[in-house]
C-alpha cells in the first residue's frame, strides 16, 4: 500500500515537472532602456521589438530567403519611381478602426515631419491615397531598395492619434505611451525606463497561435547579475544580447538555451583615410593584414559552437548582395603586412597611431588591446583612447579630430546593403559616426549609386560585388567580423524566427515577433 502511494506521488510529481506543451503563458525578456514606443522615433533594438509587435508594415522580409512578401499590402506595382500598393481590406487597428490608405499617408508624413529615428529612409517620398485601399509613393530620386525600407514604416492609426493629439501637431505625447497600430500585441502599460506590458491581440488580422505568449513583459535596463539570477530562478525568459560573454556562457552552462540571430551588420575598425599615415593605401593594407581576426572571434565566443561573431569574408557581410564566399575569410598575415608596410611612404618607427574605443562598449577595449599588440608586432607604436559616444560623434564631424582607428558596430537597418554601405562610404556621407574613414573615391561612389538605382537584382548583385572588391583593395576599414546576436533563453521558450535560419527574417529585432514564438504555460 505504502509503495503504491509513493509510486502515485512519484508519478504525479513526474507529470508536474514534465514541461507542458507550448500554451501561451507569460514571456519575460529584457532590453537596454529606454523603450521608445513612438514608431516615428524608434531607433534601437528595444524600439524595434516594440515596433514589430505593436505595429505592422506594408511588407515583410521573406523568412529564410531574400526579397519581401506582402503584409498589410496585398500586392504592389512599380512604375519607375512610383510604387503603388493595394491594401488588404480585412485589417483593423487595435482601436477597431479599419486600415485605410490615409493611415499610410499619415504615417509617412508624420515620420518625415518629426525627422527622428528611421525617417531619413523616407526623405523625398510623397505618399498619396489613390482610393481608400490604394496608396502610391513617389520618390524624388530612384531608390531600388525602397521596398526594403518599408519594413521601417509602421502604419499608425490616424483617427486615433488625431483624437488624442491634444495641442501637438503629431500627437507625440500620446504615441510615446500608447500603441496605435494593427499589431499582434496591445500595449497595456508602458514605462520607458521600467517595462512595457503587452497582451495578445485576439482580433489580429492573421490570427495569433494559441502557443504564442498571452502576455509579454519587456523589461528595460536590467543589470547582468540581475538577469542571471532571474533566469536561474525561472523568473525570466530571454536575456538581451548585451550581456557580457562570460555571463552568457555561465547561463548556458546552467542549462539555458542560446538563440543566435544572424545579423546584417559587422564589427569594423575604421581607418581615417585623410590622416597620415593612413592616407597611404599600403599602410592601410598593412594594418588590415596585421589584425588578428581569429583571436577577435575567440574573444566573443560563448561556447565552442556559438560565438557573437562569424568570420568576415570581405566588406559586405555574408548573406547580403555582393558578399564574398567562404574562401575569402579574413585572416591575419604578418608577412604580407610587413611587405605592405615596406612600400608605405611613411617610416613605421616614426608612426604613432590612436586606436579609439567607445566608452559605453567595454568589449571594444579588448579589441583595442588586441590591435595594439598586432601593431607592436609590426613595430608600430599606438595609443589607446577611450571616447564616450557623444564625444566620438562630435569628433568625427571633423577629419582632423577623428582618431586614426575608430571601432564601430554597424547594421543594415532595413536588411539591404544600401543602408549599410552608402552611409559608410559615399563621399557625401563622410564625417558621421558611420563614416570616420572619410573615404572619397569616385569608383566607390559610382558602385553605391548603381546599387541603389539598378532595377534588377542581378544588376545590384554585380554592383555590390564590384564595390566589395574595390573596398578590399582600398582597405579603408578592417572588417573585424560579421556580427551575430546571442540571446540566452530559458527552456520555456521556442523562437524559430530568431534561431532557425530557414524562418529568420534577416532583419535585426524582427525575430522577436512574439506571435511567432511559443511559450510553455506555467
Amino acid at each position: 500500500m505504502k509503495t503504491k502511494t509513493w509510486l502515485a506521488a512519484g508519478l504525479l510529481a513526474a507529470i508536474a515537472f514534465t514541461p507542458s506543451a507550448y500554451a501561451g503563458g507569460t514571456l519575460r525578456l529584457d532590453e537596454v532602456a529606454v523603450g521608445e514606443l513612438d514608431p516615428a522615433k524608434a531607433s534601437d533594438y528595444a524600439d524595434s521589438i516594440l515596433m514589430f509587435n505593436v505595429y505592422d508594415t506594408l511588407v515583410l522580409p521573406r523568412q529564410g530567403g531574400a526579397g519581401h512578401v506582402p503584409h498589410l499590402a496585398s500586392n504592389w506595382e512599380i512604375d519607375g519611381a512610383t510604387y503603388t500598393f493595394n491594401l488588404r481590406d480585412d485589417v483593423a487597428f487595435q482601436s477597431g478602426n479599419p486600415l485605410r490608405a490615409e493611415d499610410v499617408v499619415y504615417s509617412v508624413e508624420r515620420m518625415t515631419a518629426l525627422g527622428a529615428g528611421y525617417s531619413y529612409l523616407f526623405r523625398g517620398v510623397t505618399a498619396t491615397a489613390v482610393d481608400s485601399l490604394t496608396v502610391s509613393f513617389t520618390l524624388e530620386t530612384p531608390y531600388s531598395p525602397f521596398i526594403a525600407a518599408l519594413v521601417r514604416l509602421p502604419i499608425v492609426d490616424k483617427a486615433l492619434v488625431e483624437d488624442n493629439k491634444g495641442n501637438e501637431e503629431w500627437g507625440e505625447t500620446f504615441l510615446s505611451s500608447n500603441g496605435a497600430g494593427t499589431g499582434a500585441y496591445i500595449v497595456t502599460s508602458h514605462n520607458p525606463q521600467e517595462e512595457t506590458v503587452m497582451t495578445k491581440n485576439d482580433n489580429y488580422f492573421l490570427g495569433v497561435a494559441e502557443a504564442a505568449p498571452d502576455t509579454v513583459r519587456l523589461r528595460y535596463g536590467l543589470e547582468a547579475a540581475t538577469v542571471r539570477t532571474l533566469i536561474a530562478r525561472g523568473e525570466h525568459d530571454i536575456a538581451s544580447q548585451w550581456l557580457p560573454p562570460e555571463v552568457v556562457r555561465a547561463l548556458s552552462e546552467d542549462g539555458a538555451q542560446l538563440f543566435s540571430e544572424t545579423g546584417t551588420g559587422a564589427f569594423y575598425l575604421k581607418m581615417n583615410t585623410t590622416k597620415p599615415p593612413l592616407d597611404d593605401v599600403n599602410c592601410r593594407r598593412a594594418f588590415a593584414a596585421a589584425f588578428d581576426y581569429d583571436t577577435a572571434i575567440q574573444m566573443i565566443a560563448i561556447t565552442d559552437d556559438v560565438s557573437a561573431g562569424s568570420p568576415a569574408t570581405g566588406a559586405i557581410p555574408v548573406g547580403m548582395f555582393g558578399a564574398n564566399g567562404p574562401e575569402r575569410v579574413q585572416t591575419q598575415n604578418m608577412e604580407k603586412a610587413r611587405e605592405y608596410l615596406a612600400t608605405c611612404a611613411y617610416d613605421p618607427a616614426e608612426i604613432s597611431l590612436e586606436v579609439s574605443w567607445i566608452a559605453e562598449v567595454p568589449l571594444e577595449e579588448r579589441f583595442a588591446l588586441l590591435f595594439q599588440s598586432n601593431l607592436a608586432q609590426l613595430g608600430v607604436q599606438s595609443e589607446i583612447i577611450k571616447l564616450p559616444w557623444a564625444l566620438f560623434s562630435e569628433q568625427v564631424s571633423n577629419p582632423e579630430n577623428t582618431p586614426h582607428f575608430s571601432q564601430i558596430f554597424v547594421n543594415a537597418v532595413t536588411g539591404d546593403p544600401d543602408t549599410l554601405l552608402y552611409g559608410m562610404y559615399h563621399s557625401t556621407s563622410a564625417g558621421t559616426w558611420q563614416s570616420p574613414e572619410n573615404l572619397n573615391d569616385a569608383e566607390v561612389d559610382a558602385y553605391l549609386e548603381e546599387g541603389r538605382t539598378a532595377t534588377t537584382e542581378a544588376a545590384r548583385e554585380t554592383a555590390y560585388s564590384k564595390l566589395n572588391t574595390r573596398l578590399m583593395d582600398l582597405a579603408p576599414t578592417i572588417y573585424g567580423f560579421d556580427r551575430q546576436s546571442i540571446f540566452a533563453a530559458s527552456n520555456r521558450v521556442n523562437a524559430p524566427a530568431i534561431s532557425d535560419p530557414s524562418q529568420a527574417f534577416g532583419l535585426d529585432g524582427m525575430g522577436f515577433s512574439f506571435r511567432l514564438m511559443e511559450v510553455v504555460d506555467d
Binding site: E36, K41, Y120, N191, Q193, E194, A225, T226, S393, Q434
Partner: protein
C-alpha cells in the same frame, strides 16, 4: 494692537521660526546657485543634444530646427532666462530621453527613490545609532571591536557591491527575497502616493503589502549599509568623548545606573554631530542610489538621473538635479531644526538674541 499682528509678531519672535526663515532664505539662494552651475555644466558636456535626440542619421536641417526650438543657439544667459521663465510656470520642459514632460517623469520616478531612501534611512538610524551606543558603552571590549569591524566592512565597500552580495546570498543561494522591481507582476495596485508600500495599504491588500515590503528589503539594506557603519562609528566616537566629560564622572559618582548614564547623559549630547552626518548621508543617498536601483531594477529617479546625463538630456538633467538639491536642502533644514531643538545652548542663545 490687533490680535493678528500680535500673533504674527509672536511667531516671528519664535527662535525656531526665525531659524527656519533664515535657512529657507539661504536655501533659496543656494538653489539659484546650483541651477546656474548645473545649467552651465550640462551644456559643457560634449555632444549635441538635438543630434543625440534625433538619432545619428537625422537631416542637418532637422537638427538645426530642434536646436532652434530648444534655444540652443542663443547665448547661455538668454537660455537660462527661458529656463527660469518656464520653471516659474511649473514647466521643466520635455525630456529627450523618455519623450515626456520632465515633470511627468519626476512624478513617476521620484516616489520610488524616496521610498527606497526612507526605508534605508530608517534602517540606518535604527541600526547605526544603537550599534554606536553599544560600542561606546562597552568601549574597548568585544562588542566594541565587533561593531568596529562591521562598520569598517560596510563603510569600505560601496553599496552596489553590497547589492550584488545580498542578491547572491538572499536571492540566489537562499531564495528568500525577490530580485527585481517593486512588486510582483500579479498585483495591480492603483497609484495614489507612488509609495508602493503605502499604496498597497491604501488598497487594503495586505498580501500585496507584504510582497512590496519584501521587494524593498534587499535594496534598502544594500543602500543603508555604509550609512549604518558611519552612523555607528560617529556615535561611538562622540559618546566615548562625552564619557570623559566631568559631568559624566559626577553622574557616575552619584551612582546612576550605567544604562541610564549612557541613554540620557551621554547619548543626547553625542547625537548632535551624528545627526548632521546622518542628514547629509540621507540626502546623498538620493543621488547614490542609482547603482542599487540598477541592480534591483528599481524604477527610480536616481537611475533616471544617470541615464539622462549620459544622453545629454538638458531639461531632464536640470529637473533631476533640482529635485535632488531641494531634497538636500529640506533635509538640512530639518536637521538644523532638530539640532536646535536638541541642543539647549543653541535654543537658549537664539532666544536671548531674540
Amino acid at each position: 494692537m490687533r490680535p493678528g499682528s500680535f500673533l504674527g509678531q509672536h511667531i516671528l519672535n519664535s527662535p525656531l521660526i526665525r531659524l527656519l526663515l533664515q535657512r529657507l532664505g539661504i536655501s533659496f539662494i543656494v538653489l539659484i546657485g546650483v541651477s546656474m552651475l548645473i545649467f552651465v555644466i550640462a551644456r559643457v558636456i560634449p555632444g549635441d543634444p538635438a543630434r543625440i535626440a534625433l538619432g545619428p542619421n537625422a537631416a542637418p536641417e532637422q537638427v538645426a530646427s530642434l536646436r532652434a526650438a530648444m534655444h540652443l543657439d542663443d547665448p547661455i544667459v538668454v537660455q537660462y532666462g527661458f529656463f527660469v521663465l518656464d520653471v516659474t510656470r511649473g514647466d521643466l520642459g520635455k525630456s529627450l530621453y523618455t519623450n515626456r514632460p520632465v515633470t511627468v517623469d519626476i512624478v513617476q520616478f521620484l516616489p520610488a527613490t524616496l521610498e527606497l531612501v526612507f526605508a534605508a534611512g530608517i534602517i540606518m538610524v535604527g541600526l547605526g545609532l544603537p550599534l554606536g551606543i553599544l560600542a561606546a558603552r562597552y568601549h574597548g571590549r568585544w562588542p566594541d571591536n565587533a561593531v568596529r569591524i562591521f562598520a569598517l566592512l560596510t563603510v569600505s565597500a560601496p553599496s552596489f557591491v553590497w547589492a550584488v552580495i545580498l542578491m547572491l546570498l538572499f536571492a540566489f543561494y537562499l531564495p528568500l527575497f525577490p530580485i527585481a522591481g517593486r512588486i510582483s507582476d500579479i498585483y495591480e495596485i492603483d497609484r495614489v502616493t507612488g509609495f508602493m508600500t503605502i499604496d498597497t495599504l491604501i488598497a487594503g491588500n495586505l498580501v500585496a503589502f507584504q510582497d512590496a515590503f519584501s521587494h524593498l528589503v534587499l535594496p534598502a539594506v544594500a543602500l543603508s549599509l555604509s550609512g549604518i557603519g558611519q552612523a555607528a562609528r560617529l556615535t561611538r566616537a562622540n559618546m566615548v568623548e562625552t564619557y570623559e566629560k566631568p559631568f559624566i564622572e559626577m553622574a557616575q559618582a552619584y551612582g546612576f545606573f550605567p544604562s541610564r548614564i549612557a541613554r540620557i547623559y551621554v547619548f543626547k549630547p553625542s547625537l548632535i554631530p551624528s545627526l548632521t552626518i546622518i542628514g547629509l548621508d540621507f540626502a546623498a543617498m538620493l543621488g547614490n542610489a542609482f547603482l542599487v536601483e540598477a541592480v534591483f531594477a528599481w524604477p527610480g529617479l536616481s537611475r533616471y538621473g544617470v541615464a539622462v546625463i549620459l544622453r545629454k538630456d538638458l531639461n531632464a538633467i536640470m529637473g533631476t538635479v533640482l529635485v535632488i538639491a531641494i531634497t538636500f536642502l529640506i533635509v538640512n533644514i530639518l536637521v538644523d531644526l532638530l539640532i536646535a531643538f536638541l541642543n539647549p545652548r543653541i535654543r537658549y542663545s537664539t532666544r536671548v538674541d531674540a
